[in-house]
Symmetry: C2
Subunit: 413 residues, 2 copies
């Protein structure tokens, strides 16, 4: 029997009524003949409430204890969803991340999945049960509870789908699918029927917010087809899979933006080998992800190093970088959280010169200053002032004709 | 180094301020030179809120899922308390029941502890850490989360104290210790400095509410001295230990009452062997505790069977008993939750005739009707109408002179 993994986010299970609706949806999949594994996030704002509770006790709580605290959120969800499914007369069992075999490393608050032990899940499926697994959480080989960081439930779902060789992983969310841009920012944005893992990865990393990047990486690695769709209707959403059919035709598939970003700079570092390594290994040691690194060497044998981090990580990053700057004899450290990242993504970009230039032109025409540029084979990202971000998305979306269903601009490029 | 186990109830950790106060108290014990193991309950009303959430989903949620849900309450407490202790600069780690090695049977919502695996706790203590273990919860050998039922955190604390060979188990609560009666009912009630396990067990079973009966059983079995004391002051509370010094002197140590009780009767059961076994094994199969069984056989070869159960168990008990009554050909089933149990407890009772009679006289003088009587070597319990309960406690307390510090009545008996 084919296995289907369904993942429901926090807004889909925000209250008892919605939990009952999710239960209905899960039972329908079971009735269509699937063995169903469900992954759920914490109810609505539970995680934020728990974080607030922790802040009232400690400004810098130990991360292991944060995981102990936050993992209760999903445990509540799985129990309630199991009750709702039981109420509909179906055999069901809820499992914590640990019980569901989600084994992670010990990087608390942003652990990485090392392994998925599927014995328990497979045993329960074989007994005819719907199996609910807590998203966002896992356990170290030493039995400490971990969490996977922001959006970690997606990763749980895809990792389970991969390990169970599921036919598909459905990600239910409060939007209809993946759009060419955030529809709240660009009302004419269109839903994409199909997107490749590579494109989705860039979209996700760049703040499209629909899917967690690590989840897409996992899906790509194990070839798990993901169906991103709404929990509030039955329409098809966006399929994320190995190669989309239209890849060569559609050069830019979307414009992403991310306001949860901050800029850090170390100025006038004496320019000698090992400087970059020293800075970024210090950040890596604290598991702070760095993005968009730009280095400019000046004539007087010093160098400026600019990079972006998640805004959440800024206080910690600042502390680390200030210590390293002192040690390296740098003149100073600047931080700025009044920035946002706007990016275009498309697998066709690599074979089409002039795509980046078109983006820069569109921004220049709108009088938007670019602070940092970073490119890959399938994306171009620009750091701009936070207040310019939404305007930037709109003008770039228009410049690539993403609101036109016939995509007339494709030929023009 | 001596090990001290400290247990804090829900009201002691009801909010961040109180959690900080508990942290302070724990650190003081550590500074006095103890290895400290702390057991905590869920914050304030958390458990009730979670039960309410479950009720919005299902009238009869599966018990396994209730345990999955309810166990999150203590997990929140242990994480927050660990943060508060860390904030005071002390090494600390929180452990769930499972991590703390609390292995139970699979009787969900009222599991029994089978074993305590102390390896992890001892390892963390050896590393100099304060160890916090979630009360009320455990794990089956098959890794399912269980809860120990009402007041289960006391049992966790005593079981850990026994397994770790702790010097003492401190139970912090919102009262100063064990009283000769509930001080809210009898203002002249006195705090007992010392009480034996047997007496405490009867007091606890009879609804004195300060300590969970199973915790006292455990303590008695493994000779763990318990110190019941207030988390709001530093005064000595009541020591519960093997034999109190004054045992022979003080015949009755206290008057307990329990309003969480209901009466069930099966009327006119054909009187043949095996009737009682059939009724009470059906109840036991659902883990319903039965108390105060009274059987009266009538001339016409039928028998009436009366017993009391916890009021929480009444709906389930009624269902079971009605089915059994039908099967046995009984005339009818009566249930009544308008009852309360009032009891006197004292280890000296066995060697002092006339104690029960003095209680009955006191009740009769106050015009209180006794519905059911049950006695043991160290207690006498009477079921009375719920509205008579508090008056009954007062008149019995007075009849045994428990408010008099010199206990003049002892000699008189």
């Amino acid at each position: 029997m084919a296995i289907l993994v369904q993942k429901f986010g926090g807004s889909s299970v925000a209250n008892p009524e919605r939990i009952k609706a999710v239960a209905q949806r899960v039972v329908e999949a079971k009735q269509r003949g699937y063995q169903v594994v469900v992954v759920v996030s914490a109810l609505g704002d539970t995680t934020d409430e728990l974080i607030e509770l922790a802040r009232q006790i400690s400004a810098r709580p130990p991360k292991r204890e944060m995981d102990m605290l936050l993992s209760t959120g999903e445990q509540v969800s799985i129990a309630l969803l199991a009750m709702a499914i039981h109420e509909l007369g179906h055999a069901v069992i809820s499992l914590t991340g640990a019980q569901g075999g989600i084994i992670t490393d010990a990087t608390h608050t942003r652990a990485k999945i090392l392994q998925v032990n599927t014995e328990r899940v497979e045993r329960e499926l074989a007994e005819g049960k719907i199996v609910i697994v807590a998203g966002f959480q896992g356990v170290t080989p030493g039995y400490d509870i971990t969490t996977l960081g922001r959006g970690g439930s997606d990763t749980t779902a895809v990792a389970l789908a991969a390990a169970l060789k599921a036919q598909e992983c459905e990600i239910y969310t409060d939007v209809d699918g993946v759009y060419t841009a955030d529809p709240r920012v660009v009302p004419s944005a269109r839903k994409l029927a199909d997107v490749s893992y590579g494109e989705m990865l860039e979209m996700a990393s760049l703040g499209a917010g629909v899917l967690q990047p690590r989840a897409v990486e996992f899906a790509s690695m194990y070839k798990v087809p993901i169906h991103v769709r709404s929990s509030f209707n039955y329409e098809n959403g966006t399929m994320v899979r190995e190669e989309r059919v239209l890849e060569k035709d559609m050069i830019v598939v979307g414009v992403a933006h991310d306001v949860n970003v901050a800029k850090v700079g170390i100025l006038d570092v004496p320019d000698r080998p090992g400087v970059a390594a020293r800075i970024f290994s210090a950040l890596a040691a604290e598991a702070i992800n760095v993005d968009m690194i730009v280095q400019t060497t000046k004539e007087q044998q010093t160098t400026d190093m600019l990079f972006s981090v998640s805004r959440d990580d800024l206080p910690q990053a600042k502390e680390i970088v200030e210590a390293v700057a002192k040690e390296l004899g740098a003149k100073g450290v600047i931080v700025n959280d009044n920035v946002a990242k706007v990016s275009i993504v498309g697998a066709g970009m690599v074979s089409n010169p002039g795509v980046a230039a078109r983006m820069f032109e569109a921004l220049a025409k709108a009088n938007i200053n670019i602070q940092v540029i970073s490119t890959s084979e399938i994306k171009v990202s620009c750091l701009v002032r936070a207040e310019d971000a939404l305007k930037a998305v709109r003008v770039v979306h228009e410049a690539f004709g993403l609101d036109q269903t016939d995509q007339a601009t494709k030929a023009a490029m």
